[in-house]
């Protein structure tokens, strides 16, 4: 072992020279074979030039050893980096020789079929999620309703076209038609035509403040065609408290639309008519160059508040309702509502 004393400066120069030499050699290699030869020459674990140079450290004065070590490490890294980049330049991998030619990693992996949630469910979850962030808690209620909750409490008078028997699924038990008629005729049962019934049921049992969304299946006897189905889904929001105004409604709808569309959109409200809200409005959002109907909304009608025992001079509220199928169909560009309920798996697996 050489023990000729050297200075730190000499050692550093030797390292720099070696680095330049190695970088040039790796950079000049034109095949993985020549690169590997160069690697052994400079980085070989036993007889590599770097290894040999490292041994010179022993000949340095004790106080220089720490600085020398730091320099050595940094040069080592530089050389290694030069090697790595040359290697990736020449074709990556650890060398063809190690590959088993019988193995074809491009063959498809073993996939498994992941089932899909129905697009309506996905839309509902998305809307629930957005409304949840705005402080609205989901509420559920029965699909079979009585006339009181479906109409009367919602300020829909007997003369209103919505109460026409032909426009509702009224219910009876086949076996005891006569008894049913006699006992329930003052408040007959029907499949709910809107999820606002849930709002009534919630308000009947809870004092303000109320901030809920009700959602689920609703029923109207339209013959199924590309835009109608006798069963569909609604989501309705309700907020009642002291001093809830149309401005709060507009703000919430704006936040809702912005969240749903993923971009800030202008919204507008324009007067409309629903028996359970006054003022009633239609809300539109401006999307891709035109106004798109969002849904119906309004300030909860004082008659509705009175019917659940709230004082309309003390509290006020807003409600809005959206058709899930419509939103879902626009979102996924579905052209016929019946596809949603045919349950062809080729359809369901698209979403």
């Amino acid at each position: 072992m050489s023990s000729t004393a050297i200075t730190l400066e000499e050692f550093v120069n030797q390292l720099d020279e070696l680095r330049d030499e190695a970088v040039a050699a790796f950079g000049g290699s034109e095949s993985l074979e020549t690169l590997d030869e160069a690697r052994i020459e400079f980085l070989g674990a036993k007889k590599g030039k770097l290894k040999s140079l490292q041994k010179n450290m022993g000949a340095l004065p004790g106080e220089n050893k720490k600085d020398a070590g730091l320099k050595l490490n940094s040069v080592k890294k530089e050389i290694q980096a030069a090697f790595d980049s040359a290697k990736s330049r020449l074709g990556d991998g650890g060398g063809d020789s190690q590959r088993d030619p019988k193995i074809d990693p491009t063959i498809p992996g073993h996939r498994f079929h992941l089932g899909k949630l129905h697009p309506i469910t996905q839309t509902i979850e998305e809307l629930k999620d957005i409304m949840g962030r705005l402080g609205f808690t989901p509420a559920e209620g029965p699909e079979i309703e009585d006339e009181y909750h479906n109409f009367v409490a919602l300020n829909i008078p007997k003369s209103h076209p919505a109460r026409d028997p032909l426009d509702n699924f009224y219910l009876s038990v086949a076996q005891s038609q006569a008894e049913q008629d006699s006992t329930l005729s003052d408040n007959p049962l029907l499949m709910r035509t809107q999820t606002s019934t849930v709002q009534i049921r919630v308000m009947e049992t809870r004092k303000p403040p109320v901030r809920i969304i009700s959602l689920g299946r609703v029923y109207r006897p339209d013959t199924a065609d590309p835009t109608h189905y006798p069963m569909f889904h609604q989501i309705e929001g309700l907020m009642v408290d002291e001093n809830v105004t149309l401005a709060d409604l507009k703000t919430v709808l704006k936040l809702f639309a912005t969240s749903y569309l993923g971009d800030e959109v202008p919204i507008r409200i324009r007067p409309s008519f629903f028996p359970f809200t006054e003022p009633s409005v239609e809300a539109d959002y401006f999307w891709r160059g035109k106004w798109v109907e969002f849904g119906g909304a309004g300030v909860v009608d004082p008659n509705v508040l009175r019917s659940v025992g709230y004082d309309p001079d003390r509290v006020s509220g807003f409600a809005f309702g959206l058709g899930i199928e419509r939103l879902c169909m626009i979102r996924h560009q579905i052209t016929d509502i019946r596809y949603l309920f045919t349950n062809d798996v080729r359809f369901l697996r698209q979403f």
């Binding site: 079929h113 003369s159 009224y170 401005a247 003022p279 004082p302």
Partner: protein, 682 residues
């Protein structure tokens, strides 16, 4: 409602441009649906909500425009010239059915000359898409589209007794309308008769016999007020909808009957000549005086969320036709006009002021207070179920809640009570396959028939790998006079074999309610294979059923391939759900595993053997696992099988010795022998 730009100009000056106008109308409640140029005119289509019957005439729309742009509204004041002879000497009106007709007015014009109406009137009617008939009929239509009051002109000579009797139709009465179709009437429908036969269906359509024709000389002009509900029901039953029925259904302004009648007569005199008899036959109720309403100004900001200057409130209401009775700094008291029956309360006035002032001035960036929201436990459980189902490769279906009788009868495990029947069937929901399956009018008592249908439709469409699941309600009647219950169920169906499907069910239960031990019990349903079917219980509660569809079940539902179906109750599962699992310390001592191979009778079920093993092994048992069933008739004899199982033992306190494990093994072997005559192999 289509309005003509040219026509509107008669009542209000239209100096604004078209686009600005329709935008303001949209923003104040008359949604613009489109505009078509008709010659030099423009036909503007506006959507009129059902509470705004006043806008079903040009005058109503013009009034809105006048209010929006603060313009003057010019309303014609018809004063037709009359002769001295009184109408009451020549005709009479009786209302026999005051529940369908509240008021009836008639005027009589003698000696008209029927011919075409003038060009200007024809042009305006054509802009609206209304057919041109003759000067008398066109005048009635024109006035209807002017003010919203439907009118009818009878050929007076065809009214056999020269009188009008308004009554309810008699059973089986026939009527030929102007459209020359015959209609069968029924009691409750309002007919206008001449004392003998019907000459019109009140508010719906006139009759062919009494219509104004070339030969008509004298005409009776009807302006009446028919009940909205009655007109709607009649029009609907007869499938006979007209611009007249459309307006009566939305309620008309009964205070305007006389104006409309005079206006119409004025046009007829002008265009067809003749002489108008003095006076009017006016029978029935006088219109109710309009309500007096008070608007407290502070309520405006409380409901609308904006401050509207109080000095603007009065002028807005006046422009809309309300008359101010009193006003101070806090409130304004007004009378609603007769044509605005939707204005009955303070809040209705708030809407009026708000919409004319402009909903666009309401901000959309106010501070809505933050509040916490919650996820329902049921939602969390459903999410867990969905995660298992989708991971297992099941797609989610959505099927109608109503089913045909055949399906309803085929499978109803949750209730033996009759299903609820709907007054209306669902139409078009099972079209492709089941045209002859009968009405879809029963509320389903089980999801299983619907799930089988989802398999069938996929089979039919050559999707042979359809695994589907659904969570939905079923509808069960209870005792008399009780509201039916509507429990949520989970059902799924697959073409995989019984044990694979059962594995999915077990995975759901394990994932949602890990503490629950399911037990399997026999069940009997025609549509399920008697061997490969079972009732599943949790303790003494029935969680649901699993079964492979039997041959007869497949036939009943038109299924070709095997399928296994499951239906379980969501509520029971939810009640046992562990939503927040608690950590248990892991034992640091090694486990000892022992395998057993028992020969038992075929009738010994795994479930029972497992339970014996569990009891025998005691506290040291960590798990017992089924491995395999194997039969070797030569070695073991007929009617026997081998059950292979593996037991893992572990203590939380010490390393088990071989001797301890052997003792447990011996207990297992002894107990299985005692309880099941199980013989250990080897």
């Amino acid at each position: 409602m289509i309005v003509s730009w040219d026509w509107l100009k008669e009542y209000v000056s239209l100096s604004m441009d078209h686009d600005h106008l329709v935008d303001r109308l949209t923003m104040s409640g008359l949604n613009h649906e489109g505009t078509e140029p008709i010659g030099e005119d423009q036909a503007i289509d506006l959507e009129v909500t059902s509470n705004r019957a006043d806008c079903l005439g040009h005058l109503g729309v013009a009034r809105e425009i006048a209010a929006l742009y603060d313009l003057d509204l010019k309303i014609p004041d018809p004063q037709p010239t009359t002769i001295a002879e009184s109408v009451t000497d020549h005709c009479s009106v009786e209302i026999e059915s005051p529940e369908t007709c509240f008021r009836y007015t008639a005027r009589l014009i003698r000696g008209v000359k029927i011919g075409p109406s003038p060009q200007w009137m024809q042009k305006r009617l054509k802009s609206l898409g209304i057919g041109i008939v003759n000067n008398v009929v066109d005048a009635t239509n024109y006035v209807m589209f002017e003010c919203g009051q439907p009118l009818h002109a009878f050929d007076f000579a065809k009214l056999s007794e020269g009188k009008i009797v308004v009554r309810s139709a008699s059973q089986g009465e026939q009527f030929e309308a102007i459209d020359h179709h015959k209609y069968l009437l029924e009691p409750g429908m309002c007919v206008i008769s001449d004392g003998k036969v019907p000459v019109a269906i009140g508010g719906v359509m006139g009759g062919a016999d009494s219509e104004v024709s070339e030969e008509t000389v004298d005409v009776l002009i009807e302006a009446a007020y028919f009940d909205q509900l009655s007109v709607r029901q009649t029009a609907r039953k007869l499938k006979l909808h007209s611009p007249s029925s459309f307006r009566f259904e939305r309620d008309i302004d009964s205070a305007n009957l006389d104006w409309a009648s005079r206006r119409c007569c004025e046009f007829i005199l002008e265009m067809a000549g003749g002489e108008l008899l003095e006076g009017v036959v006016d029978v029935g109720q006088a219109p109710e005086p309009p309500p007096i309403l008070t608007l407290r100004f502070h309520q405006l900001s409380r409901i609308l969320g904006i401050e509207i200057p109080t000095e603007q409130v009065g002028p807005i209401l006046k422009k809309l036709g309300l008359s101010v009775k009193a006003e101070d700094q806090n409130q304004i008291t007004v009378a609603a006009p007769t044509w605005r029956k939707d204005l009955t309360r303070e809040v209705d006035l708030i809407e009026e002021v708000g919409r004319i002032y402009g909903f666009d001035k309401i901000p959309d960036d106010v501070n809505v207070p933050m509040t916490a929201s919650y996820r329902l436990p049921s939602n969390r459980v459903i999410d867990k179920i969905r995660a298992v189902m989708t991971s297992a490769g099941y797609d989610e279906s959505m099927t109608p809640s109503l089913v045909p009788e055949k399906w309803s009868n085929a499978f109803s495990p949750w209730s033996d009570k009759e299903p609820l029947t709907s007054s209306q069937p669902m139409l078009g929901v099972l079209e492709e396959y089941s045209k002859n399956i009968g009405a879809v009018n029963l509320l389903r008592r089980s999801l299983v028939p619907s799930m089988i249908e989802t398999r069938r439709i996929n089979e039919y469409r050559a999707n042979l790998d359809a695994n589907l699941f659904e969570t939905a309600r079923v509808y069960l009647t209870k005792g008399e006079n009780e509201i039916p219950v509507q429990p949520l169920k989970l059902a799924f169906i697959s073409g995989q074999d019984f044990y694979q499907v059962k594995g999915v069910l077990e995975t759901i239960v394990q994932n949602v309610a890990p503490e629950v031990e399911l037990t399997i019990h026999p069940c009997k349903f025609d549509i399920l294979d008697p061997s490969l079917s079972a009732e599943i219980r949790v303790g003494d509660q029935v969680l649901g059923w699993i079964g492979t569809i039997s041959k007869s079940g497949k036939k009943l539902f038109g299924l070709k391939n095997d399928a296994t179906v499951v239906e379980i109750d969501f509520g029971i599962l939810e009640s046992k759900a562990v939503l927040i699992p608690k950590h248990k310390n892991l034992s640091t001592f090694p486990a000892v595993s022992r395998d057993f191979n028992f020969i038992v009778e075929n009738k010994v079920h795994w479930q029972d053997l497992q339970s014996t093993v569990q009891k025998a092994a005691g506290d040291l048992l960590e798990s017992v696992r089924y491995l395999e069933t194997f039969r070797d008739e030569k070695k073991d004899g007929a009617g026997k099988k081998r059950l292979l199982l593996s037991v893992v033992l572990r203590s939380s306190e010490e390393t088990l010795t071989g001797q301890q494990a052997d003792e447990v093994s011996k207990a297992i072997i002894d107990q299985c022998k005692a309880s099941h005559s199980a013989a250990l192999v080897g």
